[in-house]
Symmetry: C2
């Protein structure tokens, strides 16, 4: 029986046309991260499951992880996300390094999911994290990185928005203002997380099951109705939480000054499922309803190193996936025309078969001058030279026919200017 | 209990210092492959085990593969090598594409091995393959790519050598000249494969068990004693295999003309374990006995698409791993000094704390001009500015003290020329 030619479910074959598009996206990611001095890192493809258990939500561990027992009886998983790895790495070295640490990576990750629009089993994800930044500067910079990256693709505030919340304020609201226990608060988090995906009645039904009193329910719905940073400020003021309000304003004011509020909106329903966030949380969304999944998710976490028995080190980071980003760029026609096509400098051809070894020589001389050169191995008729050159994305072609063979020359044609010149082989070799 | 901070056995954490070295190596790989017009591709991290079973040696499937059953009862494995994936992908599209196809990739791969010098469980591997090249041109070009890559690191014929054989000639020797059955021949392959790693007596003992007659044994040892392309030519001539000799000379002569025989030596013991090779096979070795494992292995295969019920398509390729390559580069001091260190354009600092928001502004203006900019978030004393700038690999620093705050200027210092200039903020923003 013949084997299946298709890739494993939920993964992609990147043929050169697709890989060049991905490379374009990766190079923008790299440029944006490095423009802020983020330094590259990478970690192992697999980690022990314990690490994910300690850091991630239950759903991830139970249903979505590619876990297995290795031949040495270690229970391991293909990395579903990069944050636990980066935390493990930072835990090793943070005491010797001056802060802040700024790191980025573009790892391949796997989650066992039902493949659907915007969600595959394997994807790549830009991870940017800053550790040990003072005050709220890390949060501000991370948002800047995300905005600059999106803008570097040519995206504008018409195309995308960053929806942002602050977990410390949600905690304050649920536990202090509403007076809920940690346990009920954590259940309410899950309801908030789902609230935009289900009808309002379903939210009400879920809330009713939590046994909150009328006052608490009222507070909850007034929280859920907050639509802007101003709303949130008034809400905190109304409940006499002036310190929390001022602290949050200290974070929002510079964003406003820097023009970032053109992109960033307050959203009470953004809480991010994973447990480790303690400060801001945010997600980037395409404004086109065609693409409903978040392009990016991130936030601030204070305690990520504690599972390694290390002192707390404040961190802020995001993960931005290539699947949703590519959908976004295609929807808004932000992929540059032709970025999927090959580009080379020279196509080396010969028409007289006696030039075959000369073709090898010419091609390798051009390579030694740092050109990209495709060598055609067999005599190529003149009427086929230019179609092939175009297909290969060549700027120049080398032509060697009978005359060139006899006269020890090569013909060089510039495909843009159409200029053609004859060069003595002896000069060319110099 | 605190979690383990170490990476999973046999894998590596790439901190920025190590990742930059890897990026240097990857960029050389990419440049070498693209200088021959090889096009980038990538495939899934996991494939169905059936695919590896069909194409790889038994040892790999039984003992060395990271295989598991997914939640949908598919028996899959983390890719241990790239060739089966590239074959599967080429099988999908080869009928529509003009030949030759030239493809490269630098995937991460995993094998369950005992971690040791030159061998880890996770590594990255440059894969270059050419499909559908006429005659022996594909084999020649693939060797050129490998040599050019090694040379691009500054390596010379004093540092490395390519040991090469031809499986079609080994087949001819074992089956036609020696008259062995396919079964015995295949056992003999395995002995040849091991022959350099064990004492000669062990080879004799293994050979004795195969039940070959005296004449066959004599032929085998005379084959094993061949030390050069000339030896091989004479051996074939002696056994009246003139066609095979001429065919092989047609391959060797251009290599000689192109100077590639400075790097490439004939080696009768190179056969490569995997089953799919049908033409040349080769491995690159460090000449320093410190590093004994092959840096690279490759060869030509005629039938890789048949498992997909496709017409045969001749291919030649190699895989070159980052672990052995890095050992090689370190041994021969071929990693450029400082390639592990960060490089940025600007470090933006302020000494007067009122300049904090100006620092954000200045830094982002510089980024919009495509500079790499690290912004320091807190007032930095003058005596700490230059040590920090050096550590960050900055070419310039921005300084903003009380004078600059009052006069709406910034100080810009070029760290190479030591020149310092004062720029009005209004000019800077233009």
């Amino acid at each position: 029986m013949a084997l299946n030619k298709e890739p494993y479910k939920g993964t992609r074959d990147f043929f050169p046309k697709q890989k060049r598009v991905q490379n374009y996206i990766f190079s923008k990611m790299k440029t944006a991260a490095e423009s802020f001095g983020y330094e590259p890192y990478d970690g192992p493809l697999i980690e022990e499951v314990e690490l994910y258990k300690a850091k991630s939500g239950e759903e991830l561990i139970n249903d979505q992880i590619y876990s297995f027992t290795d031949r040495g009886e270690r229970f391991v998983a293909i990395r579903p996300e990069m944050t636990p790895t980066v935390a493990r790495m930072v835990a090793q070295i943070h005491r010797e390094e001056s802060k802040p640490l700024r790191w980025y990576s573009i790892p391949n990750l796997m989650r066992y999911e039902k493949p659907q629009k915007g969600r595959l089993r394997e994807h790549w994800q830009l991870n940017c994290d800053i550790f040990g930044a003072p005050g709220r500067f890390g949060e501000i910079e991370i948002l800047q990185v995300a905005v600059n990256l999106m803008r570097s693709f040519g995206a504008t505030a018409q195309d995308f928005e960053i929806l942002l919340n602050d977990r410390s304020i949600v905690d304050l609201t649920f536990q202090k203002i509403m007076g809920l226990s940690k346990e009920v608060a954590s259940k309410l988090y899950k309801i908030v997380d789902k609230s935009k995906k289900v009808p309002h009645e379903a939210v009400v039904e879920m809330v009713n099951k939590l046994g909150m009193n009328e006052k608490q329910q009222e507070l909850f719905y007034s929280y859920l109705a907050l639509k802007s940073f101003d709303d949130l400020g008034k809400f905190l003021e109304h409940h006499n939480e002036l310190e929390a309000r001022d602290n949050f304003l200290k974070f929002v004011s510079p964003l406003r000054e820097m023009g970032l509020l053109d992109y960033i909106k307050y959203d009470a329903t953004i809480v991010r499922g994973l447990d480790y966030y303690t400060g801001i949380v945010f997600e980037i969304f395409d404004k086109d309803p065609e693409n409903r999944r978040a392009i990016c998710g991130g936030g601030a976490y204070a305690n990520l190193l504690q599972i390694f028995n290390e002192q707390p080190l404040a961190g802020v980071g995001f993960g931005l996936g290539d699947v949703t980003l590519t959908d976004f760029l295609k929807t808004h026609k932000l992929l540059p025309e032709g970025c999927e096509n090959p580009v080379i400098d020279y196509l080396v051809t010969f028409q007289d078969e006696r030039c075959v070894s000369r073709a090898f020589e010419v091609a390798n001389i051009l390579r030694s001058k740092n050109f990209k050169v495709v060598q055609h191995f067999e005599p190529l008729k003149m009427n086929k030279v230019f179609p092939l050159a175009e297909k290969k994305g060549a700027s120049f072609v080398v032509i060697m026919g009978e005359t060139e063979f006899n006269e020890n020359t090569i013909q060089l044609k510039n495909l843009k200017t159409k200029q053609q010149e004859t060069i003595a082989l002896s000069d060319f070799k110099k």
